[in-house]
Amino acid sequence: MTALTFTLKAPPPERLDLSSLVPARLQRLSRAEIERLPVGTSRRALKLADLFAVSGADPVELRFEGGSERFDQVGAHLADGRILVDGDVGQRCGLDMAGGDIEVRGDAGPFIGAGATGGTLVVHGNAAEKAGGAVHGGRYGLAGATLVIRGDAGPRAGDRMRRGLMLVGGATGDHAGSRMIAGTLIARSVGAEPGLGMRRGTIAVGTHGTLVPTFMPSGAGDLIFMRLLRRAVGKHHLDLAKMLPDDPFRFVGDQAALGKGEILVCG
């Protein structure tokens, strides 16, 4: 069976809520029912077929031909299966997802991977603010899933991250890993004040902006952890894996909060 494919007919006239397009939901629906799914967010009440041509049949593998920064909640609550977007996505991609794979071949809006407990998210382009960060009222940012951003990420990447692995091939904005509860965030470079308010967890970086004074240098050391980390990262991003040395320079913090987190500088 070929992937169930949604081909965008024209740029969407409003933000879309695509959260209903997940295998668990689509498997139970006929083609006609799928085409009638509401995806609009205004009183126009747009249906799927108003925007997309539907082809293919396999509801476990979904494909969006064409994307838009107005594609919100792509793969939200995904449990299994695969979603590929040949284009951009909007906010909350993979929100609270528990499993499966999402691949975005363009850029991603804010809050990608918020609350995601399992599965893998890959963004070929850049991600906006709070990638792997918590939404308003959400308990956690990334919470066990793997999030790979090949380009850059906006400010507050990994905010309130709880578990899992987040990789940024390029640079993040300021306050990466703010209020991290646990988990691992690795980026080629981060902006100012990374790890602000972090309780536990690891941030590994090539270079970084200003550190807040509540991170304390604790020297370089040979960490066996680094070898395990390199192996785990290598499965998703070879360049970042190569960046990780055996003996990074370690800062401990944020001592404004619990202070059991670390920033590993891999320069």
């Binding site: 509401p38 308003h136 009222g137 959400g138 308990r139």
Partner: protein
């Protein structure tokens, strides 16, 4: 318009009525069966039960803390995409939804039990936006500096009475409430536990002293609803002793205990709690001046909302999800601690069972009222299920089978065979709350009463029966039909209007100017602030 409801089983315990009969309505009132007049409209209630509209004496439906609970937990108020044709009525957690959910269960009057005098206008504006039902609010005193300073100075009972009357009138309360008397004031001085005979340090006043002064003032003002008391030590093992001692303190004066379930805990020898419901009910039997509402626990997620900031602060560790708010307000303030009552928890299961035990061991259904202390024990929408459990022993047995056996063993509930009758349900939810609030025009179906009427399809599944009323009349107008809104109705807010003393008014003006940089005008709840004629003043006792 003349309406006849006929063929239904009319249950009106206030007048000893229980049988197939007629109820006549003209305009907004129930009238005696007219001679030789033909009704304009006949409601066939065959197979149905006809009761007065239900009344809730204690439900947190408005005010600054309810607002904060929505802001603290936006994730609990996410809307299913539902009926877009009801302005805000399907918006989860909105005032409009509160009114609609009450109305569909046949509730027509609800009392907000925590009206802080310094934020009275805001609370009343929010209450105005709760549709369908009549509302009232209880003015909170007992931690405010003006009262405590007056007591510290040893001023006369008359002065305390005048201040109480002044505060009630200014805030437009329907009754007087005291919440852990002195507890919030003490907490602001870093006191972390506070019992009846503990002192608020800088005032040198015990909780008992404050409570006694308010009992006196309450009686002198002639507030129809007994002093509504939230005791010290809420939730603590052994708290039942505090409540019984507070009963003694009343010395025969009318007193109402809020959410008694949260006090009916004895310390168990093996740690944790066991039920003290039997002891509490024996004390209730011995004190005919005492009434209480239960504050039944319901399993599931909720947010506890209380002005007892000392207690809420100490409960912050139990917050689920892990976030909480403590506001040190002008007097009490507020504490919000989200909580998830779990069936698998011995403590939560005991709380659930102890509540039911209180109902079932109650010596008098006129004195033990149905509440969940919404949303503290759980949402008011659980009332139909709770009525079902009280009316059906087998249903209780099924429920208990899912609870931890250790909890079941620490509570007498499983051995209780009592089943509530429909008449007892009508007492507990209609006749008794109306009498307790001093509202003679409701809670019954005699001529002259407000035509607030709930009609239910009589069915063995009491949960279904009471969840969705077949028909609800408010002020004679059909507002709910088969659980759905038939007409949007704007209820009134019930208040007292005690006479304020001119000298106390002047003193208060000076006090407020000094403390807030604002005078009485800033604190008023003027009719001009409301979009419509909203207040319905009730008389004080003479």
């Amino acid at each position: 318009m003349l309406t006849l409801i006929r063929g239904g089983r009319v249950i009106d315990p206030a007048h000893g009525r229980d049988g197939i009969g007629e109820v006549w309505v003209e305009g907004d009132r129930i009238i005696a069966a007219p001679e030789s007049r033909t009704p304009d409209h006949v409601i066939d209630a065959t197979g149905m039960v006809v009761m007065a509209g239900a009344i809730d004496v204690h439900s947190h439906i408005a005010g600054g803390n309810v607002i904060l609970s929505r802001l603290l937990l936006p994730e609990l108020h996410v809307n299913e995409l539902g009926d877009p044709n009801r302005p805000f009525g399907s918006a989860c957690g909105s005032a409009a939804q509160t009114g609609r959910l009450y109305a569909r269960m046949g509730y027509t009057t609800v009392i907000e039990p925590a009206l802080p005098p310094s934020a009275a206008l805001a609370t009343h504006l929010e209450l105005e936006d709760v549709p369908f039902i009549d509302r009232g609010a209880l003015t909170v005193m007992g931690n405010d500096d003006q009262l405590l300073a007056l007591l510290r100075a040893g001023e006369s009972r008359t002065a305390v009475r005048d201040l109480t009357a002044q505060t009630l009138a200014l805030s437009r309360g329907l009754g007087l409430k005291v919440i852990n008397a002195g507890g919030a004031a003490a907490f602001k001085e870093n006191v972390r536990t506070f019992d009846l005979d503990d002192e608020v340090p800088s005032y040198g006043l015990t909780s008992r002293r404050i409570l006694t002064a308010l009992l006196d003032a309450h009686e002198a003002v002639g507030v129809p609803h007994p002093l509504h008391v939230h005791c010290n030590n809420l939730g603590a093992p052994g708290a039942f002793e505090t409540m019984i001692e507070t009963m003694r303190t009343a010395e025969g004066r009318p007193i109402h205990f809020a959410h008694a379930q949260f006090y009916a805990y004895a310390a168990h020898t093996a740690g944790g709690i066991s039920s003290a419901a039997e002891t509490l009910c024996a004390a209730l039997a011995a004190h005919p001046n005492v009434t209480l509402d239960v504050g039944q626990v319901v399993f599931g997620q909720t947010c506890t909302i209380s002005l007892d900031i000392l207690r809420q602060f100490s409960a912050r560790g139990a917050a689920d999800p892990k976030k909480w708010i403590i506001v040190d307000g002008d007097a009490e303030g507020g504490g919000l601690v989200p909580f998830n009552y779990k069936r698998g928890s011995v403590f939560n299961a005991l709380q659930f069972m102890i509540g039911l035990e209180l109902f079932l061991l109650s010596p008098d259904p006129w004195r033990v009222l149905l509440t969940t202390d919404h949303p503290n024990g759980g949402p008011f929408t659980a009332y139909p299920r709770l009525i079902h459990l009280l009316m059906d022993k087998e249903e209780r047995t099924r429920e208990l089978a899912n609870l931890p056996s250790k909890a079941v063993a620490r509570c007498g509930l499983s051995a209780i065979a009592r089943e509530f009758t429909l008449a007892e349900v009508a007492i507990m939810t209609r006749a008794a709350p109306a009498r307790l609030l001093g509202l003679a025009d409701r809670g019954h179906l005699a001529p002259g009463a407000k035509a607030d009427i709930a009609i239910y399809r009589d069915q063995a599944d009491r949960t279904a029966m009471f969840s969705i009323a077949a028909l609800v009349l408010k002020d004679g107008e059909t507002i709910v039909r088969e659980g759905a809104v038939a007409a949007v109705h704007r209820g009134r807010t019930l208040t007292l209007a005690p006479q304020a003393d001119a000298a106390m008014t002047r003193r208060t003006e000076t006090y407020l100017q000094d403390r807030f940089g604002r005078g009485l005008d800033s604190f008023r709840v003027p009719e001009a602030a409301f979009a419509r004629d909203v207040f319905a003043p009730q008389p004080c006792r003479v």
